[in-house]
Symmetry: C2
Subunit: 508 residues, 2 copies
């Protein structure tokens, strides 16, 4: 990839020594030659115009023209009619490391067009680009110049009004705008919050097990110990939490990641009671609450216990991960510490993006988008359930009451890693439940948890025909795995769900 | 501030229990009333239309209309012709904490239109909003939907090509695109880099003293000890660094913050030799290099010693802090660790903003903006020097060879804090040099460093007439301070510049 400099291209830094014995023209030639040889200027890259370079260096234009001609004659440069002077394409530049492929790993074998059952990715083709560019243009048109400075404070007051109002209305929250801190997405928010906990004397963070990937590493990075707490069909096992030394817990109550369980009303009450008893804090990752397919709505924990809950949110799953805006809604006493951690880790979030999001939500366009997506995801959900019912009847599929992923339980004894590998050979990318066990580690290298082997099927970014194709491939992969492993009992058995205190993993 | 919901506004979460003894209409009324009382719905805020709410709840529209009428009769709601139903403005909402004023502290006394000699803020009114929105629109028009997912990797490959190419050309750098990691501004980059150092076994980070504010806190947050190293007219005192236990140092070589010194060629060579000797690392904050007023250009340290330098950059001072994009150019062996720290602290930088910046730079519009700003800042620099020469003759003004700030040395014995306070009373905001001493602390509460008392005058965002007004006020403030303190020797004297090892401050 060669940068296609427009107009003259930027200048070029050179140090001409007027006191040196070599002439300026000679120095110019030598430095340009060295720049091409060392790769400072790349093959095909356009040089500044002779006029611009002469102006920048404070020398006559003729010297630059002369140097360009000389290096052209030597084969370093090539002048093109109307396209300026470029480095000759034939030059071999030094020290050129190839860029890694963008977007991370792809399935091997060069297979075309894989089906990726990726967790947490919404339908990217449905991103409302027209609405978003409208909102950005509105923001650009109306922002006062004085607001283009640092945003080290809590973020746009307007966005904080809009986010908290929306959260009150649709999530039955009760945070005031002053409780809201805008952050650069969920992970930035979590980084800031776990550092705040550590500063406030909290030593251990409990995490759902299985749970969102890498959250244990983020907590450990802040100096917290990590306590995995099991999850069942009703969400986090609060009795196990109670037996642990943790005074803070991170939960996904609206749609547990990755099992899809909804935290039951009893567990919600128990969890809040626990927080009161231990003077603790609940971190609520309220994702997927926007996409429920059953009628009964479930409010946020934040609304239930505003003094015990820090709610974290983002638009990664409602708009697109690329937008990178999130928020932290914290009890008032925690807000100053959260702000300080935000200030030390970044000077804030792009201002125009914040204003665009506020505009998008306030205008109703965000809501219109969510309605559209609800319909789309409901159809994909039905397609997944139908395809699996046909291809793999009898395997339980759970967690479908909300959101964009479900859990396909595999027959006991099935080795997840083998199924995942067999699916990859068929151009289907999927993760086993084992990838979500705490602590985070390499995929496929550990025994299944108490829930047994399962696959996490994210369908947000997979259209219906691809869902059907992917499910056929999964059925083949499972058949192949079981055929090659007739005992069906390779690998260690389930870890067993004891009732004592969960293990504590210290800082590594 | 009331959110002005467009169209219908978003829905409203309610839990109607079809098995309960109360009728659905009664439940609806009760839940709406509770929402107004608790502040979930704010005075003046628009409710969903009856059609939308009925649809959302799966009930007849008549029930919603009836509930709205009942609550209207009770004074909770007010229906406006053509504007839908709103919460009555007279309702007093519970728990409403006021928003703090955006933009941080302002001078007291309600004085209008202060002159702020703020460090590090470019001319915000000159932000090229037209070019930026053009670049954003181009990015939106051309980005493939598949690129709207997570950006947990090193960032846009295109932006990394453009940034490294620009750095090679104009800063004589030699980083390859694969060495570049896009981050959310300088602070995010520094957070990620210091965490990387800590992981790689580096225990102490040396910092310029005086130096950029709060960098000690960012290092301490990562678990590093901090070693302040004095700065003189040639930049960092490398001999003092050599006597310290630090194996990493953060420097501002192109225009020292806040003294404005240029790191001399001898010191550059000594610094690189030091890094080789101790197997250490130099973190280069290459800011203000774009705005040099003398002819002799100075390349980046990264180009001089690519295996020993991590270069950090951002567009905060070339475009505006609000943009929040920066980069880290690291020796190849450090790149994987930097990427991992980036991934754990955020899932990356807004994708459209990255593409817009790449487009802006590649198109030449960025460069055109810089040329304009160079002229603007040169005029402001001259205005500052001239005004100070007239109002405060004899006081040395240093650091003016580049950038947008200078250092005004005050007569020995002058108390910075008193001058700063007297200036504030005249609506002029300025910081004393003491605010930049390591460790960071509250302003004005410590003795001056070996450079003596001084003021840091940022003039990037202050136009020429305001510069003149500000300088007049500073002269008055200084006269007032000296008049009230005739001995001219209040406060402890300079700390003295010993030659031994600098003190080490451990993690707090």
């Amino acid at each position: 990839m060669t940068v296609r400099w427009g107009r003259d291209g930027p200048g070029f830094l050179m140090d001409l020594d007027r006191a040196a014995p070599e002439t300026l023209g000679r120095q110019l030639q030598e430095q340009l030659r060295a720049a091409v040889r060392s790769g400072r200027l790349r093959p095909g890259e356009r040089l500044p115009s002779s006029r611009r370079l002469a102006q920048q260096l404070g020398i006559s234009r003729g010297l630059v023209v002369g140097a360009y001609e000389q290096l052209g004659a030597e084969g370093y440069l090539a002048a093109e009619k109307g396209a300026g002077t470029r480095v000759a394409a034939s030059v071999t530049a030094a020290r050129r490391r190839p860029l890694p492929r963008p977007g991370g790993a792809r399935p091997g074998g060069g297979a075309p067009d894989p089906v990726e059952f990726a967790y947490g990715i919404p339908d990217l083709a449905s991103f409302p680009m027209g609405d978003w560019t409208w909102a950005l243009a509105e923001a650009a048109r109306t922002v006062p110049a004085a607001h283009l400075g640092d945003d080290a404070d809590a973020g746009s007051p307007w966005l904080r009004e809009v986010v908290t109002s929306y959260h009150r209305r649709l999530r039955a929250g009760c945070a005031a705008p002053a409780d809201a801190v805008v952050v650069g997405g969920f992970r930035h928010g979590l980084t800031v919050v776990v550092a705040t906990l550590a500063r406030r004397g909290i030593t251990h963070l409990a995490l759902e097990d299985p749970g969102p990937r890498e959250h244990d590493r983020i907590a450990l990075r802040a100096g917290l110990g990590v306590v995995p707490v099991p999850v069942d069909d009703h969400g986090l096992d609060v009795a196990r939490l109670r037996a642990s030394p943790a005074r803070a817990v991170l939960v996904t109550p609206a749609h547990q990641c990755p099992t899809g369980a909804l935290l039951s009303p009893e567990r919600r009450r128990e969890l809040v009671a626990w927080a009161e008893e231990v003077d603790g804090l609940i971190l609520e990752d309220d994702y997927d609450a926007e996409f429920r397919y059953d009628r009964r709505p479930v409010g946020s924990l934040q609304g239930l216990a505003p003094d015990r809950v820090v709610a974290l949110g983002s638009v990664s799953k409602t708009l697109a991960p690329a937008i990178k805006i999130g928020w932290v809604l914290a009890p008032p006493e925690y807000v100053p510490a959260v702000l300080e951690e935000k200030r030390l880790t970044s000077r804030g979030v792009p201002v125009l993006d914040q204003l665009a999001l506020a505009r998008l939500v306030e205008s109703g366009r965000f809501d219109r988008h969510l309605r559209r997506m609800r319909t789309l995801y409901a159809a994909r959900r039905d397609a997944l359930a139908e395809a699996l019912g046909g291809a793999l009847p009898g395997l339980p599929l759970t967690g479908l009451a909300a959101g964009c992923h479900a859990l396909l339980r595999l027959p006991p004894g099935t080795r997840e890693a083998a199924v995942v590998a067999a699916a990859r050979r068929r151009s289907v990318v999927v993760r086993g439940l084992g990838d979500y066990l705490v602590p985070a580690g390499r995929p496929g290298d550990r025994p299944p948890g108490p829930l047994g082997p399962a696959l996490v099927l994210g369908f947000g970014n997979v259209n219906e025909s691809r869902i059907r194709r992917g499910v056929r491939a999964l059925a083949e992969a499972l058949a192949e795995t079981r055929a090659g492993d007739p005992a069906g009992a390779a690998g260690p058995g389930p870890a067993g769900g004891g009732t004592g205190a969960p293990p504590v993993r210290q800082v590594y």
